[in-house]
């Protein structure tokens, strides 16, 4: 499963794209969040972070498919 990282999330993992294989089977958005927090403790220091699936904000219970475009969205600050 490929995951894209932006802003401070990219700084935390040290790359803009990560291939993740050691996650639970049939993971949900929430599983991915927990995975990231357990691997990179700095995610728990953020105000919050969201997951986008195919360019849309996704709720915690959304299942992640192999071909989805998945991205980690730290707190936005445009404008």
């Amino acid at each position: 499963m490929n995951v894209l990282f932006f802003g401070i999330a990219r700084d935390i993992v040290g790359t803009s794209e990560l291939s993740i294989s050691d996650i639970v089977k049939n993971p949900t958005v929430n599983d991915l969040k927990q995975y990231l927090i357990s691997k990179y403790s700095n995610f728990s220091k953020l105000t919050s972070f969201a997951v986008a699936v195919n360019n849309e904000y996704a709720k915690d219970d959304v299942p992640l498919e192999q071909n989805d475009e998945i991205a980690i969205i730290p707190p936005v600050s445009g404008g």
Binding site: I8, T47, Y57, A71, P75, V76, S77, G78
Partner: protein
């Protein structure tokens, strides 16, 4: 016909704004431009650096424009955000709405910028002399 202009750009050209927003059925146009301010909490800002998740940002900006058009019956909408490094006094975002009357275009313009700041995946890093800070990242 509605006119919509939704873009992520390197440099915002404010001089095109009128052509993008004027409309025969409009009596009023309201525009907001966000610019780089020299000081944040009394610390001197050298530049702001913006990055975006472009495909998603465009999709979110389109949704925001559609919501505003539906709510205020707008004739034209622009939402443009810049990426890259921006120096003091440079424009970083422009949003605008044109409508038959002025209350609608003011309300819609305020909605456009407020909602963009809440939802659109764009990140701002403040570059000070001795440090860099991702805005809003930490509590």
């Amino acid at each position: 016909m509605k006119k919509l202009n939704i873009e992520i750009v390197d440099i915002i050209d404010t001089s095109k704004m009128y052509a993008q927003l004027s409309h025969a059925h409009s009596g009023g146009i309201c525009v907001f431009i966000g610019t780089v301010r020299e000081f944040t909490n009394n610390e001197e800002v050298v530049a702001l650096e913006f990055e975006t998740y472009q495909a998603m940002a465009i999709k979110e900006m389109q949704k925001i424009a559609d919501e505003a058009v539906a709510k205020w019956n707008l004739n034209s909408v622009i939402i443009q955000h810049a990426v890259g490094a921006k120096k003091v006094e440079e424009p970083v975002v422009i949003v605008g709405a044109s409508a038959a009357h002025r209350p609608e275009c003011f309300e819609a313009c305020r909605f456009l910028i407020d909602t963009l700041k809440e939802r659109v995946p764009i990140w701002k890093k403040e570059m000070f002399k001795n440090k860099e800070v991702w805005v809003s990242a930490h509590p």
